[in-house]
Subunit: 215 residues, 2 copies
């Protein structure tokens, strides 16, 4: 059975949990507490497993996979149904682009290690840290809203009427924004799509508060 | 013909330029000056094209594509030869993971808009900005070196003996590090691979100094 190194609040891992749930792939969770004792992802055991010292890590037999989007593409190839990528090249490019707008542009600036560096190394105030978070979140959400609100391929979900890789990324990102009280009134399309996703039991299964290591 | 909105120093665009050159796909470059007049990527014309106000943007007929890795996957699907992804699922996962370690973890923290925010909004000193840049670059390069130095699939290039998506990402990232005087002695595997890539005329064609908008 697949093994997933996970942390309930890690939004990159949450993406993979959604993909696994959507595809109905069974797996065992191995919790990695990102905040305990300076972060268990920095332990020698975990660092030997993944030198980047980040979750998620997916273990499939002898193979060890890192990076949430690479893992989801791997799941798409090894468990093709239900498909999380459209059947046409342009549709796939759009879905991957939405996913990467979150995974490459917005999320990396708002994750734990960056906020820790701002506080510990640059000595920013709580207000400056919150402003940093709000700035990058808003920038990313605004661009996504503009794209999704006006694109003919947007459906019940980010792309069409079945969940895709883009929704696997949007839901964790949006729920992070909620957790940090980012105003979301200006993003009606994103809000509608996230609510549609959250109606589905498979999205609920993958949610942070449903994980064994939730606090 | 394809049109690529580009900036000679944009490392995300450089990735796409390498992929286009490797595949021999002709295209027209449309320069977007990221530093002139507050950044032409923020102009109303460009923002209407790409709400994220980032390069690259690839135009293929009526279709407009964003996000460097999504664009390269699209090129891989529409121009399969030479392949930039391995033929096996695990190999593809590894190549995508290396690409994303750069595009999702390392690069987003070191790009222009982030350095501008640190200076303009947080008022950090030049030394603090340089330390930030060096910190995230070293963290990413160390993890990559550990992975590539010990993996059986590492060859002349990041994965095997032909260039892949991973090399399209590594070369721009590494040359950025060189430009900012990041010490690179500790990364012999990365250095060897980048040198192998730079022997190839197609990588040279894509380099910043060879672009029409180079300064």
């Amino acid at each position: 059975m697949l093994q997933l190194y996970t942390y309930f609040r890690s939004s990159a891992t949450y993406r993979v949990r959604i993909a696994l749930a959507l595809k109905g792939v069974p797996y065992t969770s191995i919790p990695v507490h990102l905040r305990k004792d300076g972060g268990m992802q920095h332990s020698s055991v975990f660092a030997a497993l993944n030198p980047a010292q980040l979750v998620p890590v997916l273990v499939d037999g002898d193979a060890l996979l890192t990076q949430s989007l690479a893992i989801i593409e791997y799941l798409e190839e090894t468990h093709p149904q239900p498909a999380l990528l459209p059947s046409d090249a342009l549709g796939r490019a759009r879905v991957r682009s939405i996913a990467q707008a979150i995974a490459c542009d917005a999320h990396p600036l708002c994750n734990l290690r960056v906020l820790q560096y701002l506080q510990n190394n640059l000595g920013v105030t709580d207000a400056q840290k919150d402003a940093w978070y709000a700035h990058w979140m808003a920038l990313g959400l605004e661009a996504l809203e503009k794209d999704l609100a006006h694109h003919a391929s947007t459906g019940i979900y980010c792309h069409g009427n079945t969940p895709t890789l883009a929704d696997c990324c949007l839901v964790p990102h949006y729920t992070n924004a909620q957790r940090f009280y980012i105003p979301l009134d200006h993003y009606p399309t994103l809000t509608r799509i996230v609510h549609s996703c959250q109606q589905l039991e498979v999205f609920q299964q993958a949610a942070p508060h449903r994980q064994a290591d939730a606090e």
